[in-house]
């Protein structure tokens, strides 16, 4: 998150300052791509389409950093849906185990396994969740959106978002516990 400088940065981008836009892009793009990797099968393409739409609407946008992120992730979700390659195509069963995952199943190697637990592996674990839980966790934890924003984006009530997030986290924690990962 850019924080206190976001307003100035956004104003600069609106005025055509390429450095200001680059700062916003670099701040949001990692979370955007990781989110799209969960809900879309062509995340880079969808991210590109998202940014084109964001750029086109930049001068009309009004709001703070949280509003900007909510707006951008709403666009991303819509573009992913338009692309027709969203969550339904993801396998509903747990993914193939990577080498790092296999290490997790050996309790006496738990510490080493946690070291080896890459962002990629964690992403795969999240993707193995039911699609609504996975998406909500990504929007809450990775995109940094609050429950209200996520509820608006996914079209659920705030209560339903909270329940889905909790269920997803419990499943993930259960996988962590089964793998014998302790800190």
């Amino acid at each position: 998150m850019i924080g206190g400088a976001f307003g100035v940065t956004l104003a600069g981008a609106r005025a055509g300052d390429e450095a200001a836009f680059a700062r916003i892009f670099r701040d949001v793009q990692p979370a955007l791509l990781r989110y799209l990797r969960v809900i879309a099968t062509d995340p880079e393409d969808v991210a590109g389409e998202t940014w084109v739409q964001v750029v086109a609407g930049l001068r009309r946008f009004r709001g703070d950093e949280q509003d900007f992120r909510a707006w951008l992730f709403t666009i991303a979700r819509n573009r992913a849906a338009d692309a027709g390659r969203s969550r339904a195509r993801r396998p509903a069963v747990p993914l193939d185990m990577t080498e790092a995952d296999q290490q997790l199943t050996t309790p006496d190697a738990a510490d080493q396994a946690l070291e080896a637990l890459s962002t990629h592996t964690t992403m795969e674990l999240i993707k193995s969740l039911p699609s609504d839980q996975a998406e909500i966790i990504m929007l809450r934890v990775v995109a940094g959106l609050d429950t209200g924003d996520v509820a608006r984006i996914v079209g659920k009530s705030p209560g339903a978002v909270r329940v889905a997030a909790h269920r997803g986290l419990r499943r993930l924690a259960g996988q962590v516990a089964q793998a014998g990962v302790t800190l």
């Binding site: 419990r170 993930l172 962590v176």
Partner: protein, 109 residues
């Protein structure tokens, strides 16, 4: 089919008792030391996913920047346009500066 997993507190079946801890994870707040190890592990895993960019996470910046230049930047203000404008200026137009555009707007001149 099995039901939702039980909560993390021993002797307390049902998930509702772990909700404060789960909310801490969602809000990226520090997890109390006494929380179950799997909660700490999960928090660390998710913090890593939400963390700083990795190689490849900035893919598409050139394309996005190009779209920005095309759609938002006023004509003639992109670095490429400024370089082009600089090259096209006669040497006498800016004898003491490598930034002719700035010289035009320098205060006090």
């Amino acid at each position: 089919m099995h039901n939702e997993m039980p909560g993390f507190f021993p002797g307390r079946p049902g998930g509702e008792h772990d909700e404060p801890l789960l909310d801490m994870i969602l809000e990226r707040r520090p997890i109390p030391p006494g929380a179950p190890p799997e909660i700490h592990g999960l928090a660390r895993m998710l913090a890593a996913v939400a963390g700083s960019a990795e190689p490849g996470d900035l893919a598409g910046q050139a394309a996005a920047q190009a779209a920005f230049t095309r759609l938002v930047s006023p004509p003639g203000t992109s670095p490429a346009a400024l370089r082009s404008a600089r090259r096209s200026l006669p040497a006498t137009a800016c004898p003491d500066s490598t930034t002719p555009a700035m010289a035009t707007y320098a205060p006090g001149r």
